[in-house]
């Protein structure tokens, strides 16, 4: 049986960050993810690089953590970050008096918050509601969570970690009062295996509730569903927030070629965490509230709607979860519950994943009596090492400039290692400018097991066409890599089903029009709607 110093359960950003930190500190690491990396809340959020301002009034602790991590990520993960800056706007229906409370709280947490003239705000961000009566500028930004997760995984692997995706933990190996390992089902092959680990870290997000249950430990979680909408254009350059107590649909975040409005917050039962869907009521609410931030959203095509479940840890009976601390919860189950060799790291946010990883790794090291210190606040992630974008782009001059920039944007300094031979100059996804060599590199190096994995690694199919054409091209590359066309074809169908899941809640206007076209291609031209 294989043995590791530490086994990490969960391939979200927390698990990925912990795997990297542990590996950097010289531990032997196994990470197990039942689906693909960043498929839970890590991949279903705004992609907001919080300045912490949002929490300043209600949760100083989170706000302070956020601004510290914000400044760290802008350095160590710069290829995943877009330093857009952000606005907190006051609308005529909001209390302008809140602005002062807000700015003071920001300053207390160490967040640079500067009141600016609404006219100046409009000049900086022309999409913002022209009726604003107040504006504060803060160092918000955006971050690509898929890229961030992948970069952590890549670095963990470089430092010797083993990563198993599409592998589900079905039970823990427990001896007396000690967790000694995990039982794992390989979802691809159906094979069951056991792995031993001196420490097992539960980083399962909302699903961590069930993992803890396997050790007979109860963590009272609060599954809070958040729904979001992606628009087909990047209407705003800066993050736009409402300057009021956090509420529904009051953040608009730009990201790559799109922008995202969110969120809602509704408690859902555990059983629904795997199947949360966006309801028509949520769509209508997000649209109405979103148009208050940037009126143009009322006429902008919506690409898709999606929802994630926040792994909040319950403190009281707040029915919405808005008042629960977004703070980090790191539990040593030995001191808490008398279960040795088992840690849970949960709560927190995408923003604070690095700190969460550090806290979990510190505890692991303490248990293993390892003295190595944390270096993740200093060491850049793969892709964020030295060299400006222009310099890297020059190394790959033979592809068209847009694709070149897009690749560098996604791969950072690692783009220099891509094979941009002329023979591979084809573009797979025209909306997102993803090249053949980028797709091939992802298939070879980034744990791509199917088309959905490929989308999360490369953005194939994330653009305005939602994959109707490029998905087929990508399936062709996968068929080549698998040496098997039927799996690639089934993958393609699964991919289109998944894309549709986000489109049908917003299917009218251009989105519905595009859907008719996609339906035509997939059923009439390709014949993929056959009945078995």
């Amino acid at each position: 049986m294989e043995e590791f110093d530490v086994i990490i359960i969960g391939g979200g950003i927390t698990g990925a960050g912990t795997a990297r930190d542990c590996a950097l500190r010289g531990l032997s690491v196994l990470l197990i993810e039942r689906d693909d990396i960043a498929t839970g809340a890590s991949g279903r959020n705004h992609g907001l690089l919080h300045s912490g301002a949002r929490y300043a009034v209600t949760d100083q602790e989170s706000a302070t953590e956020c601004i510290k991590e914000n400044m760290i990520l802008k350095k160590v993960a710069r290829h995943c970050v877009d330093d857009t800056s952000g606005l907190f706007i006051t609308l005529p229906e909001d209390d302008l008096g809140y602005q002062e409370t807000f700015v003071k709280a920001c300053q207390k947490a160490g967040i640079k918050a500067e009141i600016i003239d609404p006219k100046e705000a409009l000049r900086l961000e022309p999409s913002v509601n022209p009726g604003i009566i107040g504006a504060v500028r803060v160092p918000d930004g955006c971050v690509d969570p898929f890229r961030l997760c992948a970069a952590n995984m890549v670095d963990a692997k470089i430092h010797g970690a083993r990563i198993l995706v599409h592998s589900e933990v079905t039970g823990l190996v427990i001896n007396g009062d000690t967790v000694q390992g995990v039982k794992v089902l390989d979802r691809t092959t159906g094979e069951e295996k056991e792995y031993r680990g001196s420490v097992v870290v539960n980083a399962g997000g909302i699903w961590g509730h069930n993992i803890a249950g396997m050790a007979g430990v109860n963590i009272s979680m609060f599954p809070a569903k958040g729904a979001l909408l992606i628009f087909a254009h990047r209407v705003n350059g800066m993050v736009i927030n409402r300057c009021r107590k956090p509420a529904n649909a009051d953040i608009l975040v730009p990201g790559d070629t799109v922008c995202i409005i969110g969120t809602t917050s509704t408690r859902v039962p555990y059983e629904e965490c795997d199947t949360v869907r966006v309801t028509p009521e949520e769509v209508d609410l997000l649209l109405t509230e979103g148009a208050k931030l940037a009126p143009i959203l009322g006429h902008t095509r919506i690409l898709r709607g999606y929802a994630g479940v926040r792994p909040l840890v319950s403190a009281d009976n707040d029915p919405t979860g808005r008042n629960i601390s977004r703070g980090i919860v790191c539990l040593d189950h030995e001191s808490r519950d008398g279960v040795k060799g088992f840690i849970t790291i949960t709560g927190g946010k995408l923003m604070t994943y690095r700190l969460m990883a550090q806290m979990a790794t510190d505890l692991v090291c303490e248990k293993l009596n390892v003295k190595a210190s944390c270096s993740t606040a200093r060491d850049p992630l793969p892709g964020s090492e030295g060299g400006g974008i222009e310099k890297i782009a020059k190394k790959i001059w033979s592809v068209p400039t847009m694709a070149q920039k897009a690749s560098v944007g996604r791969f950072g300094s690692r783009a220099a290692g891509l094979d941009f031979e002329e023979d591979k100059g084809g573009v797979v996804c025209e909306c997102e400018e993803v090249t053949v060599s980028e797709v091939d590199a992802a298939i070879e190096n980034l744990e791509v097991h199917d088309m959905l994995d490929l989308r999360r690694r490369t953005r194939v199919g994330m653009g305005t066409c939602q994959g109707e054409l490029c998905a087929c091209r990508a399936a062709g590359r996968l068929a080549k890599s698998y040496g098997c066309a039927s799996k690639a074809r089934e993958d393609l169908k699964a991919f289109m089903r998944e894309r549709w899941k986000g489109m049908y809640p917003v299917a009218w206007g251009e989105t519905l029009r595009e859907s008719v076209y996609t339906q035509w291609i997939y059923s009439e031209v390709l014949g993929l709607n056959e009945r078995p």
């Binding site: 023979d423 100059g425 090249t435 074809r489």
Partner: protein, 423 residues
């Protein structure tokens, strides 16, 4: 400007109807906004591939009785549909579009469904095929034993591995090769040009298709079937014939990802047929601001012609479904944007779509409400001189049934008959 009939839409239904009317001595105008479903054609025309309950159809004309009364075929009536179906091949042939189907059963002039190999290697039932596209009589066995699949280097919209696997399932072994044609290589400098139409434009040059044919011939080693992407012959079918002559094996052209070269060719030939019969084709323009006189349309405007009124005795609306912008959808309703006609859709938005992408999708069947002679309804009353044809006609789900082209052709022929023979 005055016409006998003005047709709105430049696709299959409008062209078929327009050609019939023009040839019968009418003076017709077609207002076409731009591309239409033919540009995204599979290279085949479906009449009826499956019934609304999902049952596969092998002989469409025998199953017409099983369709609901609201279906356009039921409105036309099975006898008339059979008559029109028998006329389709000759009609298209007279326009320079050579269609073929699998052999008809004894006592019938009309082909049953055959099978087309899709770019994904799936055998899809279909009725008639354009010149270059092959229809197979059976989905269980083929007459060939070994196939050579040839693609252009770096052309991603034709995936040989899927086709090879589809063939292998029915007992045909295949070998995949790629060729480099110098001109096509230049397309790859701007990868967005590396699409079917880009390749087809270059392959229209004699040197290029001859080089291609020669390379394929050189690659052959004992295969009795050659499969190539359908990127030959924009304006006519001649290159397809020449390649067939050049290559000493059967040549099967398989559709690529859109745009569709056989489909665009068909559109070009039909438009030529309409114009050579004396019809006026107004490209790149959109009908708007109609004038009504009582319960009749008195005229229309277009986006490009400003205040000029175009009027006619009869009007045919064939501007497609949601995709062709013949219909538009907001979060609350589906409307017909030119005349404000009555439309057929569920009031509850959550009923428009099925959460499973590959299931029957209601929205693909949205259309304009019309009576049994395809006269459109507006505010609950028929408009006296306005007919609807093609995908804009409600009452069926052509995508699900595989009846898109069939509904377009049948409704076009029926409307032409009504206009000519006074209905």
């Amino acid at each position: 400007m005055r016409f006998d009939t003005i047709l709105i839409g430049g696709g299959l239904a409008s062209l078929v109807c327009g050609i019939k009317l023009q040839r019968a001595g009418q003076k017709c105008l077609i207002v076409s906004a731009g591309q239409n479903a033919l540009h995204f054609s599979s290279g085949t025309f479906g009449l009826l591939g499956r019934l609304p309950d999902g049952t596969a159809v092998s002989n469409p004309l025998e199953e017409l009785g099983k369709l609901p009364g609201t279906h356009p075929y039921s409105k036309i009536g099975p006898v008339k549909v059979s008559e029109y179906a028998a006329e389709v091949k000759d009609f298209f042939n007279s326009c320079g579009v050579r269609l073929h189907g699998v052999a008809a059963q004894e006592g019938s002039e009309v082909s049953p469904n055959g099978y087309r190999l899709t770019p994904m290697g799936v055998l899809q039932p279909s009725w008639l095929a354009m010149e270059d596209v092959t229809l197979l009589p059976s989905k269980d066995e083929l007459k060939w034993r070994k196939a050579l699949i040839v693609n252009f280097y770096g052309f991603l919209d034709f995936n040989a591995s899927f086709i090879a696997e589809g063939l292998w399932k029915i007992g045909v072994e295949s070998r995949v090769e790629t060729v480099k044609i110098e001109d096509v290589e230049t397309l790859r400098k701007n990868p967005a040009d590396m699409r079917s139409v880009g390749v087809a434009r270059l392959m229209a040059k004699e040197k290029n298709w001859k080089d291609f044919g020669g390379m394929v011939r050189g690659l052959l080693s004992g295969e009795d079937l050659v499969i190539v992407p359908a990127v030959f012959g924009f304006g006519d079918q001649v290159i397809v014939e020449w390649l067939r002559e050049m290559i000493p094996a059967d040549v099967m052209f398989i559709g690529t990802m859109p745009p569709s070269v056989p489909g665009i060719r068909t559109q070009i030939l039909l438009k030529k047929a309409f114009e050579s019969a004396g019809g006026t084709f107004l490209p790149g323009d959109t009908a708007l601001d109609p004038l009504f006189s009582g319960t009749s349309v008195a005229g229309i405007h277009t986006a490009n012609l400003g205040s000029i009124v175009l009027s006619a005795d009869r009007y045919v609306l064939a501007s497609g479904n949601l995709f062709g912008k013949g219909l538009e959808a907001t979060p609350n309703r589906v409307y017909e944007p030119v005349f404000g006609l009555d439309t057929d859709f569920p009031a509850d938005r959550s009923k428009w779509c099925d959460p499973d992408f590959f299931a029957l999708q209601e929205f693909a069947g949205f259309g304009v409400l019309c009576d049994d002679s395809f006269k459109a309804f507006k505010d609950g009353r028929t408009v006296d001189n306005l007919y609807v044809a093609g995908a804009e006609v409600g009452g069926c789900n052509p995508l699900y049934e595989g009846s898109g082209a069939g509904v377009s052709i049948m409704t076009a022929m029926s409307v032409a008959d009504s206009i000519l023979h006074g209905n």
